[in-house]
């Protein structure tokens, strides 16, 4: 390891670390955007009007099957040139919009699977007891739909954290950007990029463990309900 220098490592460390706040902040901003917009997709798809559903499904599919990098470039570089609706956004805002929108389509699917996981009988019982629409959602459907989605939502947080460095390509000054400019300035890439890798590992590995713990707990909960269903099934 002739090229490795601990001196450079410790010199670069605080520089790269400076970008951490932006990287983490961007992750949470994108995530929040995706959580909210995921709800919008789910809501739009539940409106009982077929043409709207087709359009929404198609738009979601389109967003999901284009690379996030292309979406970022489009929003940051191309959108300002679009007549009438075009506008210039800061790199950070472009990244929130681009990555947030991209991931909102996945989050929307997670919500949908949660809602569809609630048995038909639960909707019918809500009606038989004459619940209003909001009571049905708040008292019956969501309390059953949300818990099974929590591990999946957690996974998307980690995935998103790992996608956020894409934003350095449009100039968001996160850890990757800091490492790159350090490298360019001192012609030393190995140490700063190693620091980036270490930071990602240190943050996402414990989160992943936490989420898999959560998942096990949710599974146990789910299996409890499974036992309930199969005892029903056995007697029919």
């Amino acid at each position: 390891m002739d090229n490795w220098s601990w001196e450079i490592f410790w010199d670069a460390f605080p520089v790269v670390l400076e970008g951490l706040g932006i990287t983490v902040g961007l992750t949470f901003a994108c995530y929040l955007f995706a959580l909210i917009f995921g709800f919008v997709w789910t809501f739009l798809r539940r409106i009982p009007f077929k043409p709207l559903n087709w359009i929404v499904t198609w738009v979601m599919e389109f967003i999901r099957s284009t690379p996030p990098l292309v979406q970022l470039f489009f929003i940051y570089f191309a959108w300002p040139m679009v007549p009438v609706v075009g506008m210039t956004l800061s790199p950070f805002a472009s990244a929130v919009l681009g990555l947030g929108l991209h991931f909102s389509t996945y989050i929307g699917e997670v919500y949908r699977s949660g809602i569809e996981g609630v048995e038909k009988g639960q909707w019918e019982a809500s009606r038989a007891l004459n619940f209003s629409t909001s009571q049905k959602w708040l008292k019956v459907i969501l309390p059953q739909a949300i818990p099974p989605t929590i591990p999946m939502l957690g996974n998307y947080l980690i995935i998103m954290f790992k996608e956020v460095p894409l934003a350095s390509t449009i100039g968001v000054v996160g850890i990757l950007h800091m490492a790159n400019s350090y490298g360019a300035q001192y012609w030393a890439y190995l140490e700063p990029l190693t620091i980036v890798a270490i930071l990602f590992l240190v943050l996402s590995y414990p989160s992943a463990i936490l989420i898999s713990k959560l998942e096990k707990r949710m599974n146990r909960r789910f299996n409890k309900n499974e036992a309930l269903n199969s005892s029903k099934g056995a007697t029919t």
């Binding site: 007891l129 619940f131 309930l228």
Partner: protein, 256 residues
Amino acid sequence: MTEPIVTFQNIHKSFGDVEVLKGINLDIKPAEKVAIIGPSGSGKTTIIRLLMTLEKPTSGDIIVDGKNLWKMDKNGKLVDANEKHLRQVRGDIGMVFQHFNLFPHMTILENCMTAPIHVKSEDKKTAKQRSIEMLEKVGLGDKLDNYPSQLSGGQKQRVAMARALVMRPKVMLFDEVTSALDPELVGEVLEVIRDIAKEGEMAMILVTHEMDFALDVADKVLFLDEGVIAEQGTASEVIEHSKNERLQSFLKRFRA
């Protein structure tokens, strides 16, 4: 003559191209107990689901306590009912399902008291009090804080009955409420229904395959066959003395 609490007027119901109910006419008086029997696929469940507003009739009218269930008056014209109208009329009806459909995330007590509190705006103390009494009545006073997954099928079904009863419906619907139960648990559930029936004031519509039970509880029995009411009368007329051939061959399967 007392006014009927439920009237079906020439009700038709199709699923796609298949006509499942072919002109049902029916009067149910307050406090009357009506059993519906008939072969699988004859439309028994559909009749009940139309009344609970889980399905919409293709044509015809359903009148509940003088109000048209599926239609409402708008500027002097009858139009399709909106959710607000449905909620008003539906409040008179309660239902017990074949598969219980208890809320798995709520305790037994919460299962019972949620609707009175939120739908009927009862104060929490009264609702709780009444729910506990109702659960004691169905023999589950010691399970208040248990979750549905901790109960046997028969216990679950008794909770489901208590949950429907605390809403004080004028008409209660039972769709084969014992057919998802282990045989040894059927008795305890039928016993509770008998007790409710004896108290009297509520009309009951029971889809059932338990002929002895129907004989015992029902004032009137309907034999439904391929979407029409093929025979009706007192329980003894229909179950014991009918000359209808299809009814007799249907009944034979239960006597075997």
